[in-house]
Amino acid sequence: MTPERFLALLDSCGADLGRWPEAERDAARALLERGPTDLLDARAEAAALDLELDSHGIAVPDAVLSDRIAGTAMSSAPRAEGEARARQARPWWHGPFPSRAGWALTGLAGAFAGALVVSAALGDSYPPAAADWQKRGTAFSDRAADWSEE
């Protein structure tokens, strides 16, 4: 490691070699062991800043906050589990794929049943043959109602 690289890392990462890129720590230690005064002085200066930075502590989270946060898990995790259980308990045709197949089968079964009911209700009454229509009077076939005679 060059002294320039050492100073650059000191400037960016501070005096604690444990915060330096892992791949460069051994080389930095080896350089320091040679005891170059300027690098040692620079490191002491960086350590002074580290000391100041370390004085900015963050209060330990209180138990109320921890409990509240853990409570949010208790209220959402069982919901997730409940959803999973409900999914398992549903009939097979309610699932994503079976749902579609199920609906399709239900539709086909409905159509078939409908056809059966209609055919049973009609029994042997077939539609009149085309010739029969001519024998049947309709509102329009009554000659008396022929407006030409009025």
Partner: protein, 188 residues
Amino acid sequence: MNDDDPDAELLARVGRGEPRAVREMVERKLGRLLSLAERLLGRRSEAEEVAQEVFVRLWKQAPTWQPGRARFDTWLHRVALNLCYDRLRRRRDEAADDAVAEAEADPAGAPDALLEARQRGRRVARALAELPQRQREALVLQYYQQLSNSEAAELMGIGIEALESLLVRARRSLREQLVVEPRRHDDA
């Protein structure tokens, strides 16, 4: 399972809804999240809100977490960072001094050493708040959260050289305010 991820096993237990794992996860990560959010936002109350929101997302994510994609701690930092960005964006125009206005009052009768330590801490908080946002993020992630340079750079969406440059500028500015200037003051 990702063998390199020290949180993977605990996360899997959280995903299975084990109450003890939930409690353990809060103990393991809450302080770390508060440390990140409070140093970035400068306000304890907001940091606590961010931490709560991160945990809500964590609970939702845990059952479907796919190990190996990213380290869980990195994901957690990303979520927290994004929530902090949102808040910082909303109050971009506010003065930096306001950010540390919420500092707790010193308890009456506290020992001198404690008062002095608090004052030093506040001075650092103020100096951090005055840094440009990207410099502050870099320093908080790399120094306080003790992420590697590559992790911090990845989270910030920049290269390692850019991160080191931000760190250098941040530390120089802080050194001037926190080390050099007080020395001048003492010498005068």
